[in-house]
């Protein structure tokens, strides 16, 4: 059983993805999707850096909510910069040290920072565990670092480590 399902959660999510894409709950689709899910999760065990453990599901839900709110907020603020013809945003780089070392956590943080307009994850240094972020409208560097620490990194640490 363990050999067939090295990553049961991944396999279940893949099956769910298959069924959603096929828009069908028929037995044939479940069998076919199940076969694909098992094959892909077996293949994935060759490249995944390790098992994902979700330690706190409540933090995950909280993170999704926070990310949703921030995406909407930053969309509005970037739009305001764009429609103001005289605005020249004071863009700048931030280099910050992270506590987070879990690879999945880092990947989620990169997706989050990139998905919010106004901040972009540019370069990660695995040796020093620092990340270079570019911010479109940079006013206070320390405030940005504190925001990322408290809003995202704290939750990601709770989820993955």
């Amino acid at each position: 059983m363990k050999r067939l399902f090295p990553y049961p959660v991944l396999a279940a999510l893949l099956l769910l993805l298959w069924l959603v894409l096929q828009q069908s709950m028929g037995l044939g689709q479940i069998l076919l999707g199940g076969a694909v899910a098992i094959a892909v999760s077996l293949a994935a065990s060759a490249i995944l850096p390790g098992r994902v453990r979700f330690r706190r599901i409540t933090s995950l839900v909280q993170l999704i909510a926070v990310a949703g709110i921030d995406i909407i907020r930053s969309n509005i603020s970037v739009l305001l910069i764009l429609i103001n013809p005289r605005a020249t945003p004071s863009a700048g780089f931030i280099k910050m040290e992270l506590q987070l070392t879990n690879q999945f956590g880092l990947a989620v943080l990169a997706c989050l920072l990139t998905a919010t307009p106004g901040s972009a994850w540019l370069e990660y240094d695995g040796e020093r565990n620092t990340v270079l972020i570019h911010v479109l409208d940079l006013i206070d560097k320390d405030e940005w670092i504190a925001t990322i620490r408290h809003r995202y990194e704290r939750l990601l640490l709770e989820i993955f480590e």
Partner: protein, 116 residues
């Protein structure tokens, strides 16, 4: 098709589509308007986050109502776009950083990598 939709729902769907398309359009204009590479990468994100998201929400509502079953596979598009954008972004950004560091352009953050 649109006749099967109650008025308030078709208004909701239309508002979502127009807002989403407007945000995506604004992002594209930003890509043209901003002066340098690093600022330009921020604008199109509006299309891949909220702009695209609103269009997908409108699509999900519309087809859920007209086909009378839950249509949510639009969410998969959002998931895939969000997961894959950082890959191309990092590729482009690191290439630009590399170029700027070699050209010693102004305001480029120094690299941490040991020089060899």
């Amino acid at each position: 098709m649109i006749d099967e939709l109650p008025l308030w729902l078709s208004i909701l769907v239309s508002v979502c589509v127009v807002l989403g398309a407007g945000l995506t359009m604004a992002g594209c204009l930003g890509l043209v308007r901003f002066p340098d590479f690093y600022r330009r990468i921020h604008a199109p994100t509006m299309g891949t986050s909220m702009g695209g998201g609103l269009i997908l929400v409108a699509s999900a509502i519309f087809f859920t109502v007209t086909q009378q079953r839950l249509v949510i596979h639009e969410m998969v598009i959002f998931l895939f776009v969000t997961v894959t954008t950082p890959v191309t972004l990092m590729l482009l950004a690191r290439a630009t950083l590399f170029r700027d560091r070699i050209e010693e352009a102004r305001d480029t953050p120094p690299s941490d990598a040991p020089k060899d």
